[in-house]
Subunit: 342 residues, 2 copies
């Protein structure tokens, strides 16, 4: 089943069911007006939404043309947004960039931070920041992070990893926007990310795990995650590889001292793949898999040339993030955002 | 105006207006069914809610008996929960306890962390944790933190401190529950608090700033904040004192790289007062103001005796947090929670 939220001018938008080919939709308002409403009574709503999806797919309902640009994030605002960071290469490179070693605890204890869920950007919404954030030098170091996340139903406190997998109801694609130059100061203070992590953006379609068949296994989703900057390919990664913890383990960790209410968003962090030729990976132009964020590319340039070469994002840049599924089709629709100053 | 949320079995409860003497209430469902609904269209809802409050206070509406134990948190779940920590003594003692110096940046850059807003505990709801969290030694170090927070309407990105004060619509009293023994590990990882900060609890009544008259000045609220553990007075503090940043400055900081949508909760962190006799303060039993969390008491015991004496909370302990306003009346109603294991 594929769900999306149309922009109707309200804060939460209106829930729709999307056809298997992403081309048509039908309103789900008769079942649940918004995505959060559906999660607030998921057990009852899910079979009704699935029945509607079947009727749309077999043509019993004609539907209307689905336009990604008319969508909000699937959950335009949420009550819980827990961001793990479980791709080893990403963490090693990020810590290396700050002149630190990756904490040893990372191998047994997933890194997780509390993200801001107050509002998320729509798939085509510009990334708008103040002038000083976008200066080429001395700005805030505007970067993206292509990531996968899941949305859960009610997860009790103390859930184990195997049980946790059963609570994953939808998978979504995220651009976790990061102001890279604000990160070291916030890490040094020890209170986590706040100014450095403004609102994240989401691809339009949220997808149930069963839609992925064998691509979804053991809490990991395989496929091609494609990232371009200004139409140039920057990353071509497989999110199922190089995860130190799967989504079941991440959710169990997040639920260690609290329950996670229905509609909780849990991310695995910036996707990052190692490389058989060279451990920390190679750019696309060298025949490698490239990167899902600029900071990793800059770190590798620093290793290779002594200084970073790729600049962070600025006014007018366009980032495109999309995942291709086993049918060769866009799994979640695309995130495509232009950077603009206030 | 005084607002509360009654427990009606739903996730968001139902909004009510409370009389000036905290004794009666009347449902606000005709204006907004829930607190978040009121904030989603605050400009329209506020004057209507105020008119209802006046009719309740002058007896045009009889109202029903207001029972604190029937309340949820004023906002039972929220989209934004930003927790600053602006009381200097608290930070100095906490850093000292970890063998660290307080970061110098604290004096110019408020410490702020992203809190979990997915669900909050009701004023009388037990603090329930797994067995191992409550062990007397080697447990999770269960502690409370008596704090004030505000709820804002829509705050644009880049708001300055003076403008930010105008966005404060309600003031609330919070117990920011902290698992003290999990804090050092999370601080060391640099990703902020997650496991160490389970759901916070709130006093039942949210109050508009004008209700406090001259007690509310320059983004600081004066009054007596009383904390007892098992009916024994533990803290008698004035939250207006010793704030390194006022609520206007905290909100402006939080809105530096993001907007804060209506219904955002912003806390000033654990209240902590210095002492004219001895800088880091004295316990109630020594004639001092005491403390708003156990960790500070333990830190001072370590200074005085070489080891902490007061134990963290365990099964059966009861914490009571309440603030007295200029009329000698409970400003927000009381938080009173018993600790229980799963």
């Amino acid at each position: 089943m594929r769900l999306a939220t149309l922009n109707d001018g309200s804060r939460d938008g209106s829930l729709v069911v999307v056809s298997a080919d992403n081309r048509r939709y039908t309103p789900a308002g008769g079942i649940a007006g918004t995505m959060q409403e559906a999660f607030d009574r998921w057990q009852e709503a899910e079979p009704q939404l699935r029945a509607l999806a079947v009727r749309l797919d077999i043509g019993q309902i004609e539907g209307r043309p689905f336009v990604e640009a008319n969508c909000l994030a699937p959950l335009p605002r949420a009550y819980q947004w827990a961001e793990a960071s479980v791709y080893t290469r990403h963490l090693e490179l990020m810590h290396g960039g700050r002149g630190q070693d990756m904490p040893a605890s990372f191998w047994v204890d997933p890194l997780i931070s509390q993200g801001s869920s107050s509002h998320f950007l729509a798939p085509r919404e510009p990334i708008v920041l103040p002038e000083k954030a976008l200066e080429l030098d001395g700005g805030f170091g505007l970067d993206f992070e292509a990531s996968l996340a899941v949305i859960t139903d009610d997860v009790p406190m103390g859930t184990n990893p195997a049980e946790a997998l059963q609570h994953i109801k939808l998978i979504v694609l995220v651009n976790c926007i990061t102001l890279r130059h604000l990160v070291p100061g916030e890490i040094a203070k020890g209170f986590g990310f706040f100014k450095s992590k403004p609102a994240a953006s989401f691809a339009p379609i949220a997808v149930t795990p069963d839609e992925f068949g064998r691509q979804w296994q053991g809490g990991k989703l395989a496929g091609r995650l494609l990232v371009t900057i200004n139409t140039r390919l920057f990353g071509d990664l497989n999110p199922a590889l190089d995860m130190a913890f799967d989504f079941g383990q991440i959710i169990a960790h997040a639920a260690c001292t609290r329950r996670l209410p229905a509609g909780s968003l849990i991310s695995a962090g910036a996707v990052s793949n190692g490389d058989r030729v060279r451990g920390p990976g190679r750019p696309i132009s060298w025949g490698g898999n490239g990167y899902a964020c600029i900071a990793e590319m800059r770190m590798m340039e620093t290793v290779d040339y002594g200084h970073p070469d790729t600049r962070f994002l600025t006014d007018g840049d366009v980032v495109h993030i999309e995942m291709v599924d086993q049918r060769g089709q866009s799994a979640f629709g695309a995130i495509e955002q232009e950077v603009k100053r206030i």
